[in-house]
Symmetry: C2
Subunit: 553 residues, 2 copies
């Protein structure tokens, strides 16, 4: 068996080492265009920011070590220019020497990754406009910061964009973020990103956030870059970083006549085989199945890439494998805040036309009576009929990662919100609550589906108007009400509600709310049993403020 | 509907509030023998230790608030003396006044909890010997510490015992822990508790740990307590705390002729009904089904108690419910270390006669290249045939809670180790790894079951002797080997192993090991394919050191 692997980072390196463990006799050659293999690409922003001080820490291994330990033939600075599927050879150029040669294969694994998008805008190729994919990219950006850059412009407020903002600010670089959409972190639903936008704006961090804005061109001026924005605004800085997404490296596959999807991802079956069964493809370059929508998608994440590399090697060496698809679990830390998601977002469900229900909760990450409890907002999406979990998003501080990971497993297991009610998580006051946020989300969602707890979400409430406008009942204390409430609300505290039922309208819809939804739930139960038509505003005033942050005091 | 609830803490209070949400018209009376309802019993040690400064924080709610908000009739300092099942009444004594009266019920929920064990030893009732169950207990212990106690003796190194040790040390109280078993935290397997024993012994914290030791009697001396130990040793301190377990409060149930199990837990069906269908029982007083062994057990934990209270109320008000049993997820923090478990331990599987396989891994809690990665030891137990997860234990620092919670859900979903390979958790370098510890555990276990990665655990290895004694191969570097190795090992580094195969014995079993198991795995693959009979020592030298901590340098 002669196995060639194109690409030496996550998926490629995983495939190579797995292949060697499965076969001591296989000839395994790994080609990598760049100078490094198996580097920690998720760590690049943190070396620029100084959090990871030692650059060598990013080199998980080296070609020499891979040869010594795994008997791999690793060829860096080697670009594969073409695949001859008939001859079963690849044509390789050594970038350092210019030498070109053919190498034959029995099986071939494509793990070329994805390239940062560089839109064709005027001036896009000016020096000073950077993307961040590998160590040389990182070195160039870091050199500019090290040289004393005082400002930077980050185009795109996705995962990498936000990580760059945090790290540039850590280095004292005033940073402007330009994002096309009307929110940061577009994979999340907009309201869930409010705490991130707030932390960017807060405390004079030195960040300027420009939403619904985009770059239209770039010019040189005073050895800096001027960014011409769509709004007419012009920004200038010595450093511009593009973080607007990636596109699959599919040229080699296309040239070889392999199928690619509409968004460019190399098509593979559940065994990671391309349309040529002797050629596998893994990692950011491929199209994968979204496990929620069951439709093709592209998810450039390290975990799935590693997994795919492993499975491709397994299949080549005769094992039965099946890649289950990707559910897109992802996370970002931003100035002490954490945002994470798993499965589908509300907008992705809408795009896919999948029916859903949802609830919001605002639990503390551990027992409230123990010092240091941090708030989080958690949004849970599930099917309207059987309550199967479709997705979750959380934003807050500590403990966000844990709850998203727990729900990620629940999604994998096709669990329902009724199962979440029963989840038994580790509780002592510094680690969680007797009723964990995951249980609470299950309770609220299950009560909704059982019909015990009719709920309406903020967006749906705000679409009601005219005759449909419900009576809005704030059941918090007068102090809470006076500190800020939803326009048009009437305040009757939950603790006196039973005595004031005659002040509520019969024959008209009522929406009750409190701070986070708990008292509103009790109010809803009281009113339902008294014959009123009532729904609780899911997640209460805190969720309202996610939609209307300007109204927060 | 007239519903009486006996006991006003976790299970009782959950049942009462749930019942009210389900019915505005029910008459709901909750009797509590103590002065407080719904207090945070898991927080008691942390108020003594000063971590939770405000005692009021422990009072989640008050009788007055429960009356106001939930229209509950809460009667504290009210002891229910008897149940008349024929008349459907309970006989109540007001402890403050001595007044006695009967109260009728349609449905009755028993939530009396469990009482700390007080073994019948000479002097057990001396003042100065305390248990910790409620706020008055806490106040008494705290008063002794506040008064300047310099030393204390904690009998029992279980969850509460260890939490008391930590909090007493925080207060500057020299503490001796006396534990009957040869390990701390008996619910865990012994080797997994080594890091806890080390942290107790380390850094002159002021803790003395006496294992395989027990109290045989107590005497008064100099206004202090002298504890007579089985070994003949005598300890003296002004404060002795018993933390040796709890027993169900079943007297009322037994007197009423309700069934109890062999260990005293009140018998209930899946709807939480006792042998009298009008009487429910929930919380620490009941016998539950262990979801792993499917046998009756008793698990005094807050989460299950709350859940049971909720379900009992649901069933009373006509909902279909089924309590799935308890899997015993639990956690403890001890001087910055964390230990947690879910599902079965190895010893509980042995007790139940359930066949199992297991693996050990020693991952970092997040990417090793990002600063601050903390080590953990993780033990995963699963069925030998289909790999269904039976239990997990982890000990380390940060991130232990997350991995145990993730595996807890996997157990609930009846997932296998093959599923753990595929788990998609949130990864960025400060939160996890592209191959999360949970994935790693899945890989190692799945490779074992697939036959690709034969493994032997330390305990099994050490039982081999004489002719069965395998050739022991240490594949770490010479430096690592010289810094400490397993007696009898031969050192051949993994990186030169392929060139030294002729130095290894054919026809004799080989056990390979490295530091954590990863290089040992590769060595095993190399040797297997070269025709040797070889197994990898699961978890490597780090696991060996869990068994032999004295050999650690």
């Amino acid at each position: 068996m002669k196995l060639l692997i194109i690409g030496g980072v996550a998926g490629g390196a995983s495939a190579a080492t797995r292949a060697r463990r499965l076969s001591e006799t296989a000839e395994i050659v790994m080609f990598e265009r760049g100078p490094d293999v198996s580097f920690a690409n998720c760590g690049l922003p943190y070396h620029i920011g100084g959090e990871i001080k030692d650059r060598n820490k990013l080199l998980v291994t080296t070609p020499a070590k891979l040869h010594e330990r795994f008997n791999l033939d690793v060829r860096v600075r080697s670009s594969v220019l073409a695949i001859d599927r008939t001859q079963k050879t690849v044509h390789v150029r050594e970038l350092n020497t210019g030498r070109e040669y053919d190498e034959s294969y029995d099986k071939l694994i494509l793990a070329p990754g994805a390239a940062p998008l560089r839109p064709s805008l005027p001036g896009i190729d000016l020096p000073g406009i950077h993307t961040l994919r590998n160590l040389p990219d990182m070195d160039r950006i870091k050199a500019i910061v090290d040289a004393g850059a005082k400002s930077a412009i980050v185009i795109g407020a996705g995962f990498i964009g936000l990580e760059m903002v945090e790290n540039l600010i850590h280095r004292g670089v005033q940073t402007t973020v330009v994002e096309l959409q009307d929110q940061v972190l577009p994979p999340l639903d907009r309201e869930m990103t409010t705490p991130l936008a707030e932390v960017l704006a807060a405390k004079a961090k030195g960040v300027t956030l420009l939403l619904s804005e985009s770059a239209e061109g770039f010019e040189s001026a005073d050895e800096e870059i001027v960014v011409q924005l769509k709004s007419g605004k012009r920004l200038q800085a010595p450093l511009v970083i593009l973080g607007i997404g990636v596109k699959p490296e599919n040229q080699l596959a296309i040239a070889a006549g392999l199928e690619v999807g509409p968004r460019g991802g190399i098509r593979v079956n559940e065994q990671l085989q391309t349309s040529d069964p002797d050629i596998y493809a893994v990692g950011d370059a491929i199209e994968v199945r979204d496990v929620i929508s069951d439709s093709p998608t592209q998810v450039p994440l390290a975990g799935p890439a590693n997994r795919q590399g492993r499975l491709a090697a397994d299949h080549i060496f005769g094992k039965q494998v099946r890649y289950r698809g990707t559910q897109g679990t992802a996370i970002v830390g931003l100035f002490g805040k954490t945002a994470a998601l798993t499965g589908a977002s509300e907008k992705s469900l809408q795009r896919s036309g999948i029916p859903y229900r949802m609830v919001y909760i605002h639990p503390a990450h551990h027992a409230g009576y123990y010092p240091g409890a941090q708030a989080m907002a958690l949004k849970l999406l599930f099917t309207p009929d059987d309550g199967r979990i479709l997705g979750a998003q959380a934003v807050g501080g500590e403990g966000v990662d844990k709850r998203i990971d727990v729900i990620a497993v629940a999604i994998q297991a096709k669990m329902t919100v009724f199962d979440l009610e029963e989840v038994e998580l580790a509780y002592s006051p510094q680690f969680g609550s007797a009723k964990d946020p995951v249980n609470m989300a299950g309770f609220v969602a299950a009560n909704l589906l059982r019909g015990d707890h009719p709920q309406i979400d903020v967006a749906a409430y705000e679409k009601l108007a005219g005759d449909d406008q419900p009576f809005l009942l704030d059941v918090r204390t007068a102090d809470e009400f006076n500190a800020g409430h939803i326009p048009g609300a009437t305040n009757i505290s939950i603790d006196v509600l039973r005595a004031h039922l005659d002040e509520l309208p019969r024959g008209r819809d009522i929406v009750a709310y409190c701070q986070v939804g708990q008292r509103g739930y009790l109010a809803t139960r009281i009113l339902l049993q008294a014959g009123f038509r009532v729904r609780n505003l899911s997640g209460g005033y805190k969720t309202y403020l996610l939609w209307h942050p300007a109204e927060a005091k």
